[in-house]
């Protein structure tokens, strides 16, 4: 039976720490109270201790939500473990809440695991507003009845012993508290605080360090909760960042020099980051008047010889489709990054979903073959941008890079890259064009043509989005249009010949193959491992190239009795009375694979705005196996 920590006398700190393989910790507050910074710092300290981490941001839907509201809950989930952590995990094991209201949404969404420890700011019990006092007591008592362990902590009162504005300091107090609970090194925590506030100087660093120490000491004196998650020492230097920062760094490292964007959630932070740093390598971030202008501005820059990128999310991607078709038709290299969010329409701007796969592949008008790549973790965000630029310039076409809201804000450590000059784009070619080179001198085997850019003597021509011949003259001849379409299509086949079959992870043959794409990789692989541990023969395959798709995928499927995709998008369930084999709407990847491989592929998906949990996937797999 749970007990109320507040009624216990302070316990001595000598208690031994319980050793764990991993834990899921959440910090939730009102928007603006710093729970996100607390979570990020805690995760970074854990990473520096050598633990695997994955963070998930808890983002309120409103910019300035009212205080103490369910909608305003803002914070961070940190999953930390002894080994590598590849996803946000299942329910939380320990939650720090700055008020009781922010907990309600987490409880409703089943984010608190059974027996979860709740560290709750206690000041509300003595609030002047009787309604707040009543609400606080009600939630606290319900938590206790529900089997949770509640520790009421006078966070703000303790902070006031050290700083004047407790509302802004609580997050660092909590950071100290958590570091003590999880047996982190205090010195490391203080160092991390100094790094976090380095730009703001000692006047900010010192009081925040004092708060961390205060939290640590309070936990030492008053809490008997001690955990230890032994680290597997990393042998190499790592970077810890979120996916959008990794995308921005990838743009810098790819040698692209122009990024044209229009603000949209959750893509915007990538362009914020680039706005800060891109100039240092000679790049420019252009904030256009709209998404269409952002895309066509990038097309102009690419046409002039510098591959450009435009970064957006779902609704912005829709607007860019017109420009994407033009770039495919005029054969101009272009990288389009779509950090997907919940849809359709304005949908759920801050929530995770993988809903744009089909519009990425087929969204523009007419047949416009383009490359679609999906990133599956933070490290992949970095390297895929570099790959996308290279493919775009090699094949003179559009490469769409799909990320999503969970990768955008989630943090994960990965090996620090060694800079390679081959990542960079070559300088703009201004050498004279010999003879009668044509802008669309398509190779009959590959569909590829020489790229000619303005400034090259002897190469003048006029590109057009209209049907054209090899010289870029507008054509009305049906045979010439057919030739152009064939050449553009062939480019995908040419790229496809260079792709490796994605590996099957887990069993190489057996009962069930799970196929996924994008940010669900870690959760899928973890779920498969849990099922395999019971002796089931299950494997998983994760696709990076969606269009074109590598060969060998069908062969892999045929080694398994059943195949299904797991995706963070919609599919009809056959359990629904209205749904049958003839009207079922499949998940996006399942639809593509069924068409390509002629294999009976089942699918499961969810559109709850959250990253898929390994536990949910595990249940789906078990049901499929039974």
């Amino acid at each position: 039976m749970a007990e109320n920590e507040r009624r216990r006398p302070p316990s001595p700190s000598a208690q031994a720490a319980e050793t764990l393989a991993e834990h899921v910790v959440e910090i939730v507050s009102d928007s603006g109270e710093g729970a996100q910074k607390c979570g990020q710092s805690f995760a970074t300290i854990a990473a520096r201790m050598g633990n695997g981490i994955w963070t998930v941001e808890i983002i309120p839907a409103e910019i300035q939500p009212p205080a103490r509201s369910v909608a305003g809950a803002s914070g961070n989930r940190v999953r930390l473990g002894s080994g590598p952590i590849t996803n946000g995990g299942d329910a939380a094991d320990l939650v720090v809440a700055f008020n009781e209201q922010v907990l309600l949404g987490r409880i409703a969404a089943n984010e608190l695991g059974p027996g979860c420890i709740v560290l709750l700011e206690s000041k509300w019990e003595e609030d002047r507003d009787p309604a707040i006092v009543a609400s606080y007591k009600k939630v606290r008592d319900e938590l206790l009845e529900g089997g949770y362990r509640v520790c009421e902590i006078p966070m703000e009162a303790e902070c006031l012993n050290h700083v004047a504005d407790a509302r802004r300091g609580k997050n660092m107090f909590v950071l100290g508290l958590l570091c003590r609970i999880y047996s982190m090194e205090l010195g490391l925590a203080l160092e991390q605080v100094a790094l976090t506030f380095a730009k703001k100087g000692d006047a900010v660093i010192a009081p925040n360090q004092r708060l961390v120490e205060a939290g640590w000491e309070w936990a030492e004196a008053n809490l008997d909760i001690r955990f230890q998650i032994p680290a597997t020492p990393a042998t190499e230097t790592q970077l810890v960042m979120n996916g959008n920062t990794a995308l921005g760094l990838g743009v810098m490292a790819s040698g692209m020099q122009v990024c044209a964007m229009y603000p949209i959630t959750p893509a915007t932070s990538a362009s914020h980051y680039l706005s800060d740093v891109f100039q240092a390598v000679g790049g420019v971030v252009h904030q256009a008047e709209d998404e269409i202008a952002a895309c066509t501005f990038a097309i102009g820059a690419s046409y002039a010889g510098k591959c450009a990128v435009t970064i957006t999310s779902g609704p912005g991607y829709s607007l860019k489709q017109e420009g994407i078709g033009l770039a495919v038709m005029a054969e101009i290299p272009l990288v389009v990054i779509n950090v997907q969010r919940g849809g359709p329409s304005t949908g759920q701007p801050t929530k995770a979903e993988q809903g744009d796969l089909l519009s990425a592949c087929f969204g523009s008008h007419g047949d416009d073959p383009k490359v679609v790549l999906a990133v599956s973790d933070i490290e992949d965000c970095f390297y895929s941008v570099i790959a996308a630029r290279k493919i775009a310039e090699t094949f003179n076409t559009v490469v769409v890079l799909l990320s999503d809201a969970s990768l955008a804000t989630g943090q994960q450590p990965f090996r620090r890259p060694d800079f390679d000059t081959h990542w960079l784009a070559p300088p703009v070619d201004q050498s004279p064009i010999a003879g009668d080179a044509m802008p669309y001198d398509w190779d009959l085997q590959t569909g590829l043509a020489q790229r000619i850019v303005p400034g090259q003597p002897g190469g003048v021509h006029c590109l057009t989005g209209l049907a054209h011949d090899r010289s870029s003259h507008i054509v009305y001849d049906p045979e010439k249009n057919q030739e152009g379409m064939r050449s553009r299509s062939l480019k995908l086949a040419s790229l496809q010949k260079t792709l490796k079959t994605p590996p099957v992870v887990g069993d190489q043959e057996g009962e069930l193959l799970i196929v996924g794409w994008g940010g669900t990789k870690g959760a899928i692989q973890e779920a498969v491992e849990r099922v395999r541990a019971d002796g089931h023969r299950v494997g998983s395959m994760h696709l990076r190239f969606i269009q074109p798709m590598a060969s060998g995928i069908k062969d892999a499927m045929q080694r398994f009795g059943k195949v299904m995709t797991i995706e963070n998008n919609w599919c009809d369930s056959l359990d629904d009375e209205m749904i049958d084999e003839e009207n079922r709407r499949y998940s996006s990847l399942a639809l593509l694979l069924r068409a390509r491989c002629l294999v009976d592929i089942d699918c499961w998906g969810e559109t709850k705005g959250q990253p898929l949990r390994p536990g949910s996937i595990e249940q789906v797999i078990r049901a499929k196996l039974s």
């Binding site: 960042m241 102009g300 046409y303 002039a304 300088p427 400034g455 003048v460 006029c462």
Partner: protein, 286 residues
């Protein structure tokens, strides 16, 4: 054809290497223009010529960028881009081929069609007053060059386009162009009675030749620095203004403000990237 002749002459007179010229267009009759020039060209999407041209200029300030656009392309589907292009003030020469009707789609009303114009979409006559591209441009933030030229006075057309080209910034030239197919007589009153045109002459603008000065008596010594008078002229109460309405050399160009430094050598990119990596580096505790 008159515009083509004027622009070809300009490129020759300015000794522009053909490979350093890019003509950018959207969609419409005007937008076929790049195909007729022996230079680099980009014939893209309806209404989107300006952002493409901006991207080109940002990436490659060394290129001479011209934009050919029409009254539908610029003032209708591309109106948002137009207003912002004025504000960016990138160094390019924009020719608005304004024939006051949609020609490529075979006669529909355009935003600059006069009220009462009968077209396929306005069989009972267009309902709305025409939009005034000159006044709208003159009202834009960072406006730096606004002119109007007729396509039937080759000498003036050339002079105006040449001054626009030599102006550093966003040079907006509305060209009154006849559509021989769908509204062949629309500009007749302006063509046939020289007094309906008001020719602007100034030592800082166009100097009228004696020949033109004799033919066109409705003249004004208009200082292009005077934006208030430019706006009055644009409203056309004293006749259709022809010449340089406004010019301000001191408005900064976006490509100069953003200052793209161009491709850095790999060792510099590498160094700056490593400095960024340092910010996110986590070394495991000893």
């Amino acid at each position: 054809m008159a515009i083509l002749t004027a622009v070809q002459r300009l490129c020759r007179d300015e000794k522009l290497p053909r490979e350093k010229i890019v003509f950018v267009s959207g969609i419409g009759c005007s937008s076929r223009f790049p195909h007729y020039m022996n230079a680099y060209g980009f014939h893209g999407l309806h209404g989107r010529a300006l952002p493409v041209a901006e991207g080109i200029k940002m990436a490659r300030p060394d290129l001479n960028v011209f934009v050919n656009t029409g009254d539908g392309d610029c003032c209708s589907i591309g109106a948002g881009h137009w207003i912002h292009a004025i504000r960016y003030n990138m160094n390019m020469t924009v020719m608005l081929h304004d024939n006051q009707v949609y020609g490529l789609t075979k006669k529909q009303a355009s935003p600059t069609s006069p009220i009462g114009l009968k077209s396929n979409t306005t069989p009972r006559g267009s309902y709305l007053d025409a939009m005034d591209p000159l006044n709208i441009t003159l009202a834009g933030a960072n406006v730096s060059f606004v002119a109007q030229a007729p396509d039937w006075i080759p000498e003036l057309l050339y002079e105006i386009i040449a001054l626009g080209f030599r102006h550093r910034g966003f040079s907006f030239i509305r060209i009154l162009q006849r559509c021989p197919e769908f509204v062949p007589t629309m500009l007749d009153p302006w063509m046939q009675d020289p007094d309906n045109l008001r020719l602007l002459d100034h030592e800082d603008g166009i100097r009228l030749s004696p020949n033109l000065a004799r033919t066109y008596r409705n003249q004004e010594a208009h200082d292009p620095a005077n934006i208030d008078r430019a706006r009055e002229l644009a409203s056309g109460n004293d006749g259709v203004p022809i010449g340089i309405l406004y010019r301000n050399e001191s408005v900064p160009c976006y490509e100069d403000v953003l200052k793209p430094d161009g491709l850095m050598p790999p060792e510099i990119v590498g160094g700056r990237l490593e400095a960024e990596f340092d910010k996110y580096t986590v070394k495991p505790a000893e």
